[in-house]
Symmetry: C2
Subunit: 139 residues, 2 copies
Amino acid sequence: MKISTKGRYGLTIMIELAKKHGEGPTSLKTIAQANDLSEHYLEQLIAPLRNAGLVKSIRGAYGGYILTNEPSKITAGDVIRVLEGPITPVEGIEDEEPAKRELWIRIRDAIKDVLDNTTIEDLASHSDDSETDGYMFYI
Amino acid sequence: MKISTKGRYGLTIMIELAKKHGEGPTSLKTIAQANDLSEHYLEQLIAPLRNAGLVKSIRGAYGGYILTNEPSKITAGDVIRVLEGPITPVEGIEDEEPAKRELWIRIRDAIKDVLDNTTIEDLASHSDDSETDGYMFYI
DNA sequence: TCTAATACCTATCAATTTACTAAGGATTTT
DNA sequence: AAAATCCTTAGTAAATTGATAGGTATTAGA
């Protein structure tokens, strides 16, 4: 019941690109170093993002990646779907019996509601906030 | 980003026990056959449920399991937490930077809201409803 | 034109998780 | 005693995760 590093690092990439939106390409090396991640691993994550048309690459020296769209037009859900697959708490919801099926649908819709209403711009603009914002970490 | 068969079969077990609540123990064999599941595998799932005090076992011939509590007092969240661990879309929410941390918290709270407000009684009483209830299966 | 920086591609791999299966021991009812 | 049941440990094939390794192709700038 987890979002893996694929989805999480994917969001990290998109947030970094959003911060530089309109200022030319950002290299993966820069993003990897700024976030202490493996550049090689990020290469594998950005390939699907490029194939999905969320980012555009600029090859050669001083190249890198840029967003193909406004950060306000790209949602967290767009990114997560590309890297993690369809948003759903179980495979084959249709095959479940009615009571559980409805439960999975309510969970799915709740997650979709959050992911599809959070833009990369939202994430980029809050990514420098200093501390915990008063949220508690209960489970 | 999935709930595995552990949590799903765990709910199945609890729903079956809820249907027979107050009528004496139900054996795993019965539950396994009714749902076309491996009895051996269910044994491994019910062990944590017993350790957590959600069910009580009655050994020997004509034994089985019973709920330790009213079906209306047990939530889907209780069962999922025992079998899948804490409800959270990522490990170590605290370690994430503010923007993503808030996103994970909103998702976690949305899931918790559904799971903690759905009782086993709710699930058992709707588990015989015939069809799809007009829900769509978009993603 | 050379060089460095960058994207792009394919393969491999260790660790973990998932979803079981196998085999039998312990306990209780009939 | 026999049968039904819970209980426990061990093993395992397949998939996934989170990388690492080792390149090739392309381009900007000196």
